[in-house]
Structure formats: structure tokens, C-alpha cells
């Protein structure tokens, strides 16, 4: 997993005048910052919501919220953390109030741009099926628990970071992750499609 840039790196990347330009609503400054942060935001949105259709709309919505909120940005958190918090809220709102009927079927992998080699279509097919199964069960989780789980277990963020992104305290976050993990894994274990999943992982060997 690609580590996020440190705050020092980000601070070095966004000069004070850029941030000030964002606060004033200057288009060029906003483009500079949002374009740089967009891939990370897009990734978070895709992982939480789990569908391709509407992902661009969610990203646009995240940008709009950020642009409106930038005048009040005081720099207590890094720009990336602040923007990620907005993206997480946007995703959770979408989960709780879907703007359109959600399809469970996922095609997050488009045109062979995923990590699997184009010479292994079988693996790509299996990866798609696996992804579909995972999100089929993730869809049944409470949106808040699901978001906490994705941020912690998939994004690899610490409990403290997840708490900050979701505006909750640490024990609440831990409970959410624990319940989501138990419910999801209980369902996956009962799903016969997962019987072969662990063969390549050595059934949990370190």
C-alpha cells in the first residue's frame, strides 16, 4: 500500500499562498490542490462505496463541499486529512441515502488496468468474482460500521486516524471495526463461494 505523504511533505508541497488562494476561492489554487489529492480521494470513495457508476459524481460532490468549506479551513489538520474527512462524509451520506439504485455488481477493474497481468484473464475473472462477493456482503453492513472497516482494514489507517476522519471517539471506532469485521467474516464463511479463497493464502499463515 502506498504510504501517504507526511504532513511535512504536504506542507512543503502546498505553499502558504496556495492555501490562502484556496481560501479565497481562486480557481488555479483550488485546481492545484484538488487535482493533486484527487487520486487518493477517489480511492477512498471507491473502497467505501464500492461501485463505479456514480463514483465521478461522488468525487465532484466531494470537491464542491471542499471548495465551499475551504474559507473556514484553519490548518489544524493536514489538507489531505481534511479533504479525506469530507470524502468519507460524502461516501457515508451516499450509503445512507443512495442517490440511485445501487448495483452490487462491481467493475472497479476497467480495461485491464488492474494489477493482474493481461496474460492471466483467469485471474482477472476470479478477482472480479471475489470483489463482487466481498461487496455483496459489505452492502449488508451498517454504513457507519462499513466505512470504519474499510478505512481501517483496507486503507490501513490507524484507529486514531479513522476516529478523526469519522468524528468519533476511539472506543466507538474500535467497536465499529470489530462488529463490521465479525459480521462480514461470519457472512463470508457461510458463503460457499469463499471455500477456496484461502488456498493461495495458506489459510492464514504468516
Amino acid at each position: 500500500m502506498t504510504p501517504d505523504p507526511t504532513e511535512a511533505q504536504q506542507a512543503a508541497g502546498y505553499a502558504a499562498e496556495i492555501i490562502e488562494g484556496c481560501r479565497r476561492g481562486e480557481r488555479s489554487a483550488l485546481q492545484h490542490v484538488l487535482r493533486a489529492e484527487a487520486p487518493a480521494l477517489q480511492r477512498v470513495l471507491a473502497r467505501i462505496v464500492g461501485r463505479k457508476d456514480g463514483a465521478e459524481d461522488l468525487l465532484q460532490l466531494t470537491f464542491e463541499h471542499a471548495i465551499r468549506a475551504f474559507p473556514a479551513f484553519r490548518g489544524e489538520a493536514s489538507v489531505r486529512t481534511w479533504l479525506t474527512r469530507i470524502a468519507v462524509r460524502t461516501a457515508m451520506h451516499e450509503l445512507k441515502h443512495p442517490s440511485r439504485k445501487r448495483r452490487v455488481a462491481l467493475d472497479l477493474i476497467e480495461g485491464g488496468q488492474n494489477n493482474t497481468s493481461p496474460s492471466h484473464p483467469q485471474r482477472e475473472t476470479e478477482a472480479r468474482a471475489r470483489l463482487r462477493t466481498v461487496y455483496e456482503h459489505l452492502e449488508r453492513l451498517d454504513p457507519v460500521q462499513r466505512t470504519a472497516f474499510v478505512l481501517f482494514q483496507v486503507e490501513g489507517r490507524s484507529m486514531e486516524e479513522v476516529s478523526a476522519l469519522m468524528d468519533s471517539n476511539l472506543s466507538t471506532t474500535k467497536s465499529r471495526v470489530m462488529w463490521a469485521r465479525r459480521k462480514l467474516f461470519d457472512r463470508l464463511r457461510k458463503d460457499p463461494r469463499t471455500l477456496d479463497w484461502l488456498s493461495e493464502y495458506g489459510n492464514g499463515a504468516l
Binding site: Q60, A129, R157, K174, K183, L188
Partner: protein
């Protein structure tokens, strides 16, 4: 079913920040003993890698489109003005709402300080069922007495009250006071609020689970609870699914003896006296799942036998047979597992368990006997052409035919 090993969960939570050498040794030792945790760790990695791999994308075009539209939307003058107006309206509306709430609060607090409200009559106080009686106390702390088994909702918990139960709910503390009878409680974990049941002898604290409490016992069906004395000291820090606490001695013991009769089964009995307890099939099945998650197929089979002897419903019988198949897998008896899955499919074909069994039989067979697997996948597709696993079955069939 996910492992219930608390120690393992603490360690897996640390994986994101990297394990120390000491962590690694502890984990290896634990995984050596616990098949359930091995399975959970494997699933955790599968889920993480599956989602991570899929979302590593480059979508420059869509990023640019989203960014351009967002900037255009934000810098367009009329929208800005509308936004400014709507924000003022929201602020104004918010202020009005705050003022209204403050006025309401003030009125309410003044009303409570006035002379007590006259005792309500039964006709004046709404009830959820004709079978219960509200004793004459202010509505906020009314006791509920039942003549028959009934189900009520208190905050985020669904509660089945036994016949002749007497309870009162304190909404502020999410606490159900149980003076008489027993309750079966199913707490929704989503709101993330604790729920307590207090008897005359002890208190049960829970966060999202299903359990039964009577005067002198607690039995957990799902999740886990903590049992405290009335001074708040822990009698039992954690009681897991399938376990029971019986209050009867200075040092309360936990046993797997039969818990107090679940209120739902009291529907069949009209007597108000306590009858000999009997564990329902779904409790035995939960214990069997727990045993399988720990890799203990022998214990699981013992619980399954008990479930099958407990007058199970058809769904429970289907699940019992499915668990027998899983127990065979845990015991590495693949041929028995396939046979049992096929039996589930043939006996309960119209249930979800039946379809699951049909597909599972083919999946397991595919590991060692491709010819048999082809037959089973074909049989699955013939029976469930639009089934939940039909796409997967078609792809497996194609891959098996090319082998």
C-alpha cells in the same frame, strides 16, 4: 463464523502498524492452536487485497471532469448567490429551531416542577397490547406487567417479555428493570449505545447482542455481555454465545447448563409456574458454529445432535445438516462433506441452505475430483439457472472442461 479470540483481534488490529518480533511470536503460537483465527486472518487478507487491488486505478479523465464541474458550479455567480441565500436561510432556520427547542425545554422543565400529574387511568395511557397492564405511575416510568408473552421495542432493543413479567424501561440510561419473569433481548449494535437489563440481584451490560435474562440467570445466544453486581463490580467480565451465568453462590459460576426458559417457547404453555427449561435448537446451532470456528468438530457435532433433538424448525434442520457438512470439512473428511452438502441440496432445495449446499458440494468436489465437480456444477445450474451462484458456476464449469 469469525473468531471470538479477543487476543487475536487485538493483534490483528496492530497488523496495520506492523508487527514487532514479539507480536509475531505470540501470533504464531496462537495460530498454531486456533484454526478459527487462522481462517479469520486469511479472510482478512483476502478482503484487504481484493478491495485494494481493484481500486488502484488511474482515471485522469474522470478526475478532470469532476474537478471542472465542481469549480464551475462553485464559481458560477447565481449559484454562489443562491448558496449564500440558502446558507442565510439555513442559519436563520437553525436559529429558529434552536430557539424553539430552548422554549420547549424551558416549558418542559417548568411543567415537571408543577404539582404531580393526576394518576392516569388505563383508558388514558396508551398501551401496545391489550394483554399488559400499566400500574398507576407517571407515564415516563410506568411499569409494564404482561399476562401473555409479548414483544416490545425499548430504544434500540427488541425484547420478548415472558408471561407474568414486570418490567420498567429507563430511556435516559437505556436500562430495562426486570422485577419479575424473564426477557429475551436482541440489541441492535448500529446505534453504538449500551443496553442494560437490571434484576434484583445483578445487572447485564451489552452492546449489540442477543441474550435471555431471568431473576437468577443470563444465557447468551449471540455476541457477548458483561454481568455486574448492583454496585457495578464485575461478576463476569465476558459471557460469550452459548454460555450461561447462574446466580446462586457468592462466586457465581458459569456453566453450560440449560438456561432459564426462553420467553418465546412459553407461548405453548399457559401455566404461570416455571417449567423445566429446554434449550431451543437455534441456541445449540449457535454453539455448534462457535465450536466450528474454534476448529472443534467433535464438540460441534455434539451440539448439532442436541439441536436435532430439540424439535427444530425446517430451517434449523437444514442448518444442522449444513453444519454437519462443515464439521466434516474441518475434520478433513472431504467425501463426507460433499455427500452431506448434496443431502442438504436434495432435502431442502427450496431453501437458501439447499442452494448453498448444491454449490458448496461442487466447490469442494472441484478440489480433488474435477469429473464429479462438473456433474455437480451442471446439476446446480439445471436446478438454479438464475441462482445466486449461477455466473460463478458457469465459469467454474468452463474452467473444469478445459482441464
Amino acid at each position: 463464523m469469525a473468531s471470538r479470540c479477543v487476543e487475536f483481534e487485538e493483534l490483528i488490529d496492530r497488523e496495520a502498524r506492523g508487527w514487532s518480533e514479539a507480536d509475531r511470536l505470540r501470533i504464531e503460537r496462537h495460530l498454531g492452536d486456533c484454526e478459527g483465527c487462522r481462517h479469520t486472518l486469511g479472510l482478512s487478507r483476502v478482503v484487504r487485497d481484493t478491495i485494494s487491488a481493484a481500486s488502484e486505478l488511474g482515471r485522469d479523465a474522470s478526475i478532470e471532469r469532476a474537478l471542472t464541474r465542481a469549480l464551475d458550479a462553485s464559481t458560477h455567480a447565481p449559484r454562489k448567490e443562491r448558496f449564500a441565500t440558502s446558507r442565510r436561510l439555513r442559519v436563520t432556520a437553525g436559529s429558529l429551531a434552536l430557539a424553539a427547542a430552548a422554549a420547549l425545554l424551558l416549558w418542559f422543565s417548568q411543567a415537571r416542577q408543577q404539582a404531580p400529574v393526576p394518576q392516569p387511568t388505563l383508558a388514558a395511557v396508551p398501551t401496545s397490547t391489550k394483554s399488559s397492564v400499566l400500574t398507576t405511575e407517571p407515564e415516563q416510568t410506568a411499569w409494564i406487567e404482561t399476562h401473555e408473552v409479548e414483544r416490545r421495542t425499548f430504544a434500540h432493543a427488541s425484547v420478548v417479555l415472558s408471561a407474568n413479567a414486570r418490567v420498567r424501561f429507563d430511556d435516559a440510561n437505556s436500562e430495562l428493570l426486570l422485577e419479575r419473569g424473564s426477557v429475551e433481548v436482541h440489541v441492535d449494535p448500529a446505534p453504538r449505545r449500551a443496553f442494560r437489563v437490571t434484576t434484583r440481584r445483578f445487572r447485564v451490560e451489552v452492546l449489540g447482542t442477543k441474550f435471555t435474562v431471568s431473576d437468577d440467570s443470563v444465557a447468551v445466544v449471540e455476541g457477548r455481555v458483561r454481568v455486574l453486581d448492583l454496585q457495578g463490580r464485575a461478576i463476569r467480565n465476558e459471557l460469550h454465545a452459548g454460555e450461561q451465568f447462574a446466580y446462586g453462590s457468592q462466586e457465581a459460576t458459569v456453566s453450560t447448563e440449560e438456561p432459564a426458559e426462553a420467553p418465546a417457547s412459553a407461548e405453548k404453555k399457559r401455566s404461570s409456574t416455571r417449567t423445566p427449561s429446554r434449550i431451543p435448537a437455534d441456541v445449540w446451532l449457535a454453539r455448534a458454529r462457535e465450536a466450528l470456528s474454534r476448529g472443534n468438530s467433535d464438540a460441534a457435532l455434539a451440539h448439532i445432535v442436541q439441536a436435532e433433538a430439540s424439535s427444530p424448525r425446517r430451517n434449523d434442520r437444514a442448518e444442522a445438516l449444513t453444519l454437519r457438512a462443515e464439521a466434516a470439512l474441518v475434520a478433513h473428511d472431504t467425501s463426507s462433506a460433499i455427500r452431506l452438502y448434496e443431502l442438504v441440496a436434495s432435502k431442502y432445495g427450496n431453501l437458501t441452505a439447499g442452494e448453498n449446499g448444491a454449490f458448496a458440494a461442487a466447490q469442494v468436489a472441484a478440489r480433488s475430483d474435477p469429473a464429479h465437480a462438473r456433474i455437480l456444477f451442471t446439476r446446480y445450474l439445471a436446478r438454479y439457472p438464475q441462482g445466486r451462484f449461477s455466473e460463478e458456476a458457469k465459469k467454474r464449469l468452463i474452467s473444469l472442461k478445459t482441464k
